[in-house]
Amino acid sequence: MTATVSEAIADRVLRHPFFVDIDPTLVHAMVSKAEERSYDVGEMLVHEGKPAEEFFLVLEGKIALEVGGSDRPGITVETIEKGEILGWSWLVAPYRWRFDARASKPTKVIAINAAAARYALAAHPAFGYHFLMKLLPVIADRLENTRVQLLDIHGH
């Protein structure tokens, strides 16, 4: 992880749909540690249970979220694409990933250090509120989608 982030990365973050209407100086504070990464098809981004030390803005490609017990291969329950954000485990104790994430297409992301981001959110409460209010609809949508999936599993 670079100590300072390049202009190019900061620029891409600012233009990402998730951050596009947030005050740029606060975004800079949040992404004080960030880097661009590429993943080949099949490469894992995160493993369930491991510390959630970063979150990701997806620039290109597709990421499959897999959950399950240790008695099966993982089941993909959702896919995350360009323009979306991956990861909220970094905001909720115990800050450990709750799923596996695997690139299902060649994928490019910006990985943002979670500790630095959490600090920025705590240090600027108004920004923190704004950020969480952007994140909440994303999580709510996913919850609703999961309910619809559940109904289908039960054959209703």
Partner: protein, 293 residues
């Protein structure tokens, strides 16, 4: 006569067949059959060889054998105080369990066992007890529930949470209704999804944990059900402060010998048949996070 033939072949049936060949099943007769749910049946068995009885600990299992078909590992779901009656609750999912579920009174099955480490009820004495069962996870817990009822004064608060996919899938439904009437335990029943004629709780069992009444630091938990259900339940209990070493899960894996020789049931370093099936979450947690262990 069957007994003489067996004796001459080196079988001893008096004390769980301790000197008997470890791979040879003993005959048990089906005395009664109850349909629990569309695909689940309870068989009440009695030993056929004179003097044979099966003493067991709640959480243990037998290898149940159908002549000409094969063996399947099935938890014992009866009462430890009545070893003269062996009870097994079977879900018909494969060749052997379908054959078992089709048996009628008078049929004879083979039994090898009991095997495995059961629920460590002794370690729960003087503590609050939380019992969480998902679907077919209730039968392996029932013998231990009976023991808790019998020695109720030895435990603190007792919370039982039982969940199934739909109301139709609840096993021991009649009996569970009598447990709802008890004042010495608190039972919550929930289903994943239901139609309008169900006015009970809907939601996964983990939803019941935040409101359950127990002192986390002084609680022992027994959890049994599909692996994913046990995983999330254990996490919810840990979230409430129950120590990982006081949470016990009943693991399940393919078994052939149940003796620790065939290698089939290994889960990490554990042989589920011998070191389990009841294992502490503290040991299981790192493996539960990995796929295809």
């Amino acid at each position: 006569m069957a007994t003489d033939a067996l004796r001459s072949q080196g079988h001893s049936h008096g004390t769980l067949g301790v000197t008997a060949h470890p791979y040879a099943p003993r005959p048990f007769v089906v005395r009664a059959r109850t349909q629990e749910t569309p695909d689940t049946v309870t068989l009440r068995l009695a030993p056929q060889l004179p003097g044979d009885r099966l003493s067991f600990k709640g959480g243990q299992f037998n290898m149940v054998y159908v002549f000409g078909v094969g063996e399947s590992a099935i938890s014992i779901s009866g009462d430890t105080a009545h070893p003269e009656e062996l009870v097994h609750t079977v879900r018909a999912v494969g060749k052997i369990t379908n054959a078992l579920a089709a048996l009628t009174p008078g049929a004879v099955v083979g039994i090898r066992g009991p095997y495995g480490q059961g629920w460590p009820l002794d370690s729960a004495r003087g503590r609050d007890v939380v019992v969480v069962a998902g679907g077919l996870g209730l039968p392996p817990l029932r013998p231990t529930l009976y023991e808790i009822f019998r020695h109720r004064e030895s435990f603190g608060r007792v919370e039982v949470i039982y969940g199934a996919r739909t109301p139709k899938d609840l096993v021991f439904a009649e009996e569970a209704r009598t447990w709802l009437q008890r004042s010495d335990i608190r039972l919550q029943i929930t289903v994943d999804a239901a139609e309008r004629d169900w006015n009970g709780d809907v939601g996964v069992v983990t939803v019941r944990i935040p409101d359950a009444r127990f002192d986390p630091a002084n609680t022992t938990a027994f959890v049994c059900g599909p692996e994913i259900m046990m995983k999330f339940t254990a996490q919810a209990l840990v979230q409430r402060g129950v120590p990982a070493e006081a949470i016990w899960l009943s693991m399940e894996r393919n078994m052939k010998c149940a003796l620790g020789f065939c290698g089939h049931c290994q889960y990490g370093p554990s042989f589920v048949c011998r070191d389990g099936p009841c294992l502490p979450y503290k040991t299981l947690a790192p493996l539960l996070a990995v796929k295809e262990v």
